[in-house]
Amino acid sequence: MILRFAFALPWLAAMAAYAAQPFRPEPLKSGLEFSGAEVRALYQDDFSSPAMLWTTRGEKLWNEPAGAAGKSCASCHQDARTGMKGVSVKYPKVDPGTARLTNIEGRINQCRTQHQQTEPLRYESDELLALTAYVGLQSRGQTVSAVIDAQNRRNFERGRDIFYTRQGQMNLACTHCHDRNFGRKLLNDTISQGHGNPYPAYRLEWQTMGSLHRRLRACFFGVRAEMPPAGSQELLDLELFLAWRSQGLKVETPGVRK
């Protein structure tokens, strides 16, 4: 028994090191650096950025009373520019009430059902994108700093495992493109390091705003794999792993991408 345990030790140590510190691209680069001049110019000028239409809408929704409670977001959180500053850099995180991993979209919907007493917003609806982008905007330029702890470690590990597992008919894992081949061309797209820091983002290809989960689903589709639904546990776990992986990058919400 003791002998067995002794054999297991180096392996355990290696696993622990892996769990604590999987590979991270060095230096970290935002997808904006791989996006080309046209996209960068759109992003850098708030007056030309199409994403700003959603934050303007988000600001309006923030102040509008909704639901049976007749409260707006502002009724509880006051001015988002102060109340929501720096909030999104810690997401996704475990909600103390439900003990579940929650992203900004989930948190907004929880406020809607619990505090405003109204229906949750549909994932990918303009309203949810607008509010998520508006909350995210209050952390723009701040550093992504999701924390991995005992509460979310299992989520982190599951997200990490998805990132490294080959899948789909193309038999590729996230790591094959975003760790080993960033900067290279996949037909006419330059592959980035695959960070979530600009989302929700306006994608020229979509001609609209989209959530991080929509972008992730596009990558699953690309490798011809089953696509987990937006808001699913798998995508939340992956979102947490991506947040950890991009610790140190600046939030760009609402971003612009090709």
């Binding site: 597992t165 080959r166 899948q167 789909g168 008919q169 193309m170 038999n171 590729l172 094959h176 493109c177 080993r180 081949n181 290279r184 061309k185 996949l186 037909l187 006419n188 589709f221 011809r224 794999a225 089953e226 696509m227």
Partner: protein, 159 residues
């Protein structure tokens, strides 16, 4: 992460043909695949037998190569195709007809992981050992045997 050969695969008529072929090559490292209608023997870096009988056609092969279905140019530059955009995740295929024989090309297209366990090139003739394949594609190889033979015919013209 994934088993390369279908361990414990049921013995089907295709498997038996495959085993007979493997025995015939007398190669110690012969790998034999026979599942989901996909069957071939890979030994010494080659698949000697065409995947199907028929008349492969280079022009059809060119069209397959640049199609969305095969998407070879997602990763490889092949300027001879007349396309404008190519990826650069993989070596250009210009001159590949001088470097590889048809049997070698067949093996590299059917099962790139046999050459490099870490390869990012999809196996175009495999239905085993894949994970979470989209439902409408499950159990189907990326390309049919005839399409792969056409692609090989085209690649051989790249001198």
């Amino acid at each position: 992460m994934m088993a390369r050969l279908p361990l414990g695969a049921r013995v089907t008529p295709a498997t038996r043909v495959c085993m007979a072929l493997a025995a015939a090559t007398l190669a110690a490292a012969a790998g034999c695949v026979a599942t989901g209608g996909v069957s071939y023997t890979l030994a010494d870096g080659e698949i000697r037998e065409p995947l199907t009988a028929g008349n492969p056609d280079a022009e059809r092969g060119r069209k397959v190569l640049v199609s969305r279905e095969a998407n070879c140019i997602l990763c490889h530059a092949v300027p001879e195709t007349g396309e404008r955009f190519f990826g650069n995740l993989a070596p250009p295929l210009s001159g590949i007809g001088r470097r590889l024989t048809a049997a070698q090309m067949r093996a590299r297209i059917a099962d790139p992981l046999a050459f490099n366990r870490e390869s990012i090139m999809p196996a175009y003739y495999r239905v085993e050992g894949l994970n979470r394949v989209a439902e409408n594609l499950r159990g189907k190889p990326v390309l049919s045997a005839a399409q792969i033979e056409d692609v090989i015919a085209y690649l051989q013209t790249l001198q």
